[in-house]
């Protein structure tokens, strides 16, 4: 029941919020925040109830949905999705809290959409039926596009439309591919398909492409990434947190849940291309981030680079890289989410995100400075914090199979340190810009948000096995599958 509850709670909350009177903004905020807290509270025990060492799905639920077409409502989680579900409930609560004073217009619709977005994203992560997955996958589109297009910045309409068109075009082919394997396998049940689908190799290659296109747009992989900076720069702060924090993970998750298990023989065919593109993404994202004048677009391009690492880990072919990739999905959600949040804190006061408007503000806002620095450290992978573990494990896994890609990746980490620390210098240090004289430091609510994120930086950074123990069985199974297929192909 827990997983269904996690989908239902935000939907019910959204409906309640939608019917609340507009004249009571405080009540609306509290209702939305409470809903997200309830979802968080329901999801959190999943971590403890989740049994380590099991490779299969847990907390499964199956109900008839469209029996005539043999499509059922089937949900469940394994090591790949557990932490993504937790990340979603956590970041939604963070996002709603972060919107407390930032959003004043049409607050009701805003909060309802945030909750609907949460429901859709959780649905994607827990769905174990192909069409249930597709429904949630597409359903997550509209709330996000409306959040960008209605509460975003100046070019919000351009960004929202671009976001929709890219994602829709990307996932169009996936529907046909899903239909093809559904007809081939006679069912749309994901575990059943993964177990029994034995497609001819050349068909696998085509279908892998159809799925991978949808996921690559979402990740986004170079050169399909151009919607991302636009969307991030224009989105409201909470929208950016959700977008970077969880929506991009839909893509990387999709690779691991669908593309690889369904079409294992196609993996070898597509790996060189995907690895090359992710390495280009790592370097390109970093280099473009270096020259940004807008803090938010710097973080956006850093996302392109960081997501490249995750794809690199997934297609390293080994269990280590994959486990690192899953962990890094969580890490990226936390650290980039926090970076976007910190930018939002500044933007709310000054209504600008340009570096040249700031400078030397550490003296005015030391608490902000400390938290911003921590977010940067987490993002660049300082040992002891979460980012280090993820990137290190990914590179280790990659190094074994493809040392060239690993070498470029390492160079990407150096670049990340360069542009992020440059950002810190331009923002915090140097000559003080008097325009920031009235800048106020973070208040209690803002510190609470930042602190809640930072705690996880340290927990994951110091005790990564708290996560790896649960991730590893699932990735081991996936790596095993690829190994078997490679061995068979070699004979």
């Amino acid at each position: 029941m827990t997983l269904s509850l996690l989908i239902l709670i935000p939907i019910i909350g959204a409906i309640v919020v939608a019917f609340m009177p507009r004249s009571r903004p405080e009540a609306i905020k509290w209702a939305a925040f409470t809903t997200s807290l309830v979802a968080l509270a329901v999801s959190f025990p999943l971590y403890f109830a989740f049994i380590d060492g099991l490779a299969g799905y847990q907390f499964e639920e199956t109900y008839a949905w469209i029996p005539a077409l043999n499509i059922s409502y089937h949900v469940g989680i394994d090591g790949l999705s557990l932490f993504l579900v937790l990340l979603t409930t956590f970041l939604t609560a963070v996002s709603i809290l972060s919107s407390w004073t930032a959003i004043t217009e049409n607050l009701k619709e805003y909060m309802a959409l945030m909750l609907l977005l949460e429901a859709a994203v959780i649905g994607v992560f827990v769905a174990l039926d192909l069409f249930l997955f597709y429904v949630f996958w597409e359903a997550s589109l509209i709330p996000m596009a409306l959040l960008i297009g209605r509460w975003g910045g100046e070019r919000r309409i351009y960004a929202a439309v671009k976001f929709i068109i890219y994602t829709m075009a990307g996932s169009a082919l996936m529907l046909v591919a899903a239909l093809a394997i559904y007809i081939w396998g006679g069912t749309s049940d994901v575990p059943a398909l993964a177990a029994s689908l034995n497609l001819p190799a050349n068909l696998q290659i085509w279908l892998f492409f159809a799925f991978a296109l949808a996921f690559a747009v979402k990740v986004p992989l170079f050169p399909l990434h151009t919607w991302l900076p636009a969307a991030h720069v224009e989105a409201p702060t909470a929208g950016s947190i959700m977008l970077a924090g969880v929506l991009l993970k839909l893509g990387t998750y999709g690779f691991m849940r669908f593309a690889i298990p369904f079409f294992p023989e196609a993996v070898a065919f597509w790996t060189p291309l995907l690895v090359t593109l992710s390495v280009i993404g790592i370097l390109y994202g970093a280099l473009v981030a270096l020259v940004q004048e807008d803090i938010k677009s710097l973080v956006a391009y850093s996302s392109v680079a960081h997501m490249g690492f995750i794809v690199l880990g997934i297609f390293s072919g080994g269990q280590q890289g994959m486990s690192g990739a899953v962990l890094q999905m969580v890490n990226h959600g936390l650290s980039t989410g926090m970076l976007f949040y910190m930018v939002g804190v500044l933007y709310e006061q000054r209504h600008t995100r340009l570096f040249r408007e700031y400078g030397g503000i550490w003296v005015k806002v030391p608490v902000f400075g400390v938290f911003f620095l921590l977010a940067v450290f987490s993002s660049v992978g300082l040992p002891g914090l979460n980012g280090f573990v993820g990137e290190f494990v990914i590179l280790l896994g990659t190094f074994r199979v493809n040392w060239i890609a690993a070498a470029f990746g390492t160079f990407g980490i150096v670049l990340a340190a360069w542009y992020l620390l440059t950002a810190v210098r331009r923002l915090m240090f140097g000559p003080f810009n008097p325009a920031n004289n009235r800048l106020k430091d973070m208040n209690g609510r803002e510190i609470l948000i930042a602190l809640s994120l930072v705690i996880f930086f340290f927990v994951i950074g110091l005790f990564p096995n708290l996560l790896f123990n649960k991730i590893n069985p699932a990735t081991a199974q996936l790596a095993e599958l690829i190994n078997t297929v490679t061995l068979l192909a070699g004979q």
């Binding site: 597709y134 597409e138 359903a139 439309v161 068109i165 829709m168 082919l173 529907l175 046909v176 239909l179």
Partner: protein, 486 residues
């Protein structure tokens, strides 16, 4: 020699007869009733009884009646429901739309019911002559309805265009009937199919030409490219309540008869020919409809072109020539009835009295002016795009599934790419409503918007169905599973 009377099974035709009787009663009552809206409600009651009759007939499968000219099989009954829903929702729109424009007249409802009975005849006909009768009953009523707003030049133009091009289509159709009859010696669908069991040489080729002419006639009626030219002007000029009715009803009726013809008569002969023809029609219809819709600045015209595109998606379900495809088409038509009429209802609310249609920019900031109306339109637009969890998605999934199953995956690929293109213009309306600022004068006009009872009911029903069956499509899927040819 005793004369044998054919058995007359009126019960099998009860839904059609009820609608026809209701239409005549409306004409009679018109003399005595001063508030013509009463006739609208009366028509609704008639449709309600016809619905009950249709449901009651589901259990009682009968062989073709009246000398195998009509049948009341699962396929026809499901279509009855689609036509009834279309007519009922359109009447609800009319009740407030016509009143605003001083068009509230009794014959309107009678014509609408006659047209509906024509559609139902097309769904039930198992003889080409009856198909033609249904086609004409439906069309002649529609020609008049299209021109119903005599004060507007555009409405007269719409009626005239529809009439001239409709007459063309009828001529094609009749010529096709004549050739098929000349070759096979019958107009009865099963008899035509049976005639082909032996090799017929040249005569077979004549029948093939006849089939292609029939196809052209139907392509006119369902507005498939390249026979779609009348559609934008007619849809744009007609009163919006009529546009809503014919965009769904006439299309559904055309498909109803076309599919029965292909599945019953040409199920085993010329299959490859017509499958290719229908597939090609589907591809050009989807693509041309969507690309033309991209360029529109008027919402009514945009929906006209989009309805062409939807004819294309439906053709994707026809091309495989399988029962799964037929079920998919029925589901699609059902979903289309609700979401498309819902969209036209919103247009009817927002349409200015002085002009025909409404510019896309009229929707700017609607979410602030009228949040619920905008939300309803959002649902319809998203559903028409085919984004889940709304009913339109399942319609597309169902027909594309049939195509993939029949080995026509490429057709499904063209379909999904077209869906992605359509997102551009459907969501363009959403962008206007939710992301553009309000224009001050629109704000004032919003206060005067006529959201009367019947209109609210239309919108509510369409929106609720779009959402509920989007989340839980099983009941509708189960209903379409009852489709069978008697």
């Amino acid at each position: 020699m005793p004369i044998e009377f054919p058995t007359l099974n009126f019960a099998a035709l009860s839904p059609i007869l009820i609608v026809i009787v209701a239409a005549f009663l409306v004409m009679l009552l018109e003399l005595f009733v001063t508030d013509k809206r009463v006739l609208g409600y009366f028509s609704l009651a008639g449709l309600g009884i016809a619905t009950v009759a249709s449901f009651m007939m589901f259990g009682l499968a009968t062989p073709p009646v009246f000398q195998a000219m009509l049948v009341s099989d699962g396929y026809a009954l499901i279509l009855n429901l689609i036509f009834i829903v279309t007519a009922a929702l359109s009447i609800l729109i009319s009740l407030s739309y016509l009143g605003d424009r001083e068009l509230q007249r009794g014959e309107y409802y009678a014509l609408l019911l006659f047209s509906t009975s024509g559609m139902m005849l097309m769904g039930a006909a198992t003889d080409l002559i009856i198909v033609f009768m249904g086609l004409e009953i439906m069309s002649i009523a529609l020609y008049i309805l299209a021109a119903f707003n005599r004060q507007q030049l555009g409405s007269g133009e719409a009626g005239m265009k529809y009439f001239v091009l409709g007459a063309f289509a009828s001529a094609f159709f009749l010529y096709g009937v004549a050739l098929v009859y000349g070759a096979t010696g019958s107009t009865q669908l099963q008899a035509i199919g049976g005639w082909f069991t032996a090799d017929r040489g040249t005569l077979g080729d004549i029948a093939r030409v006849g089939l292609s002419l029939l196809l052209v006639g139907f392509a006119f009626k369902v507005a498939a490219v390249p026979f779609q030219w009348w559609t934008p002007d007619v849809y744009h000029g007609s009163p919006t309540s009529v546009t809503a009715f014919m965009s769904v009803g006439a299309k559904a009726a055309g498909f109803a008869a076309l599919i029965r013809l292909l599945m019953v008569s040409f199920n085993e002969v010329f299959t490859l020919d017509w499958q290719i023809a229908v597939a090609v029609l589907a591809v050009v219809t989807m693509t041309v409809g969507n690309i033309a819709a991209l360029a529109q600045r008027d919402v009514k015209r945009m929906l006209a072109y989009s309805s062409i595109a939807h004819a294309g998606y439906i053709l994707v379900g026809v091309a495989p020539g399988t029962m799964e495809g037929v079920k998919g088409v029925l589901f699609y038509l059902m979903s289309y009835a609700f979401m498309n009429i819902g969209a036209f209802a919103v247009i009817a609310v927002l349409e200015r009295r002085s002009t025909v249609g409404s510019a896309i920019s009229d929707y700017a900031g609607l979410a602030i002016r009228k949040p619920l109306l905008a939300f309803a339109m959002l649902l319809f637009m998203v559903s028409l795009t085919g984004i889940p969890p709304f009913i339109g998605f399942w319609g597309k999934l169902y027909v594309f599934r049939a195509a993939v199953e029949a080995g026509m995956s490429w057709l499904a690929v063209v379909g999904v790419i077209n869906s992605a293109i359509s997102a551009f213009y459907y969501l363009g309306i959403v962008v206007q409503m939710y992301m553009r600022p309000v224009i001050a004068e629109d704000m004032e006009e919003a206060a005067g918007l006529n959201l009367t009872g019947p209109m609210v009911i239309t919108l509510a029903v369409a929106a609720v169905v779009t959402v509920i069956f989007g989340i839980w499509p099983a009941p509708l899927v189960d209903l379409t599973a009852l489709a069978a040819f008697g």
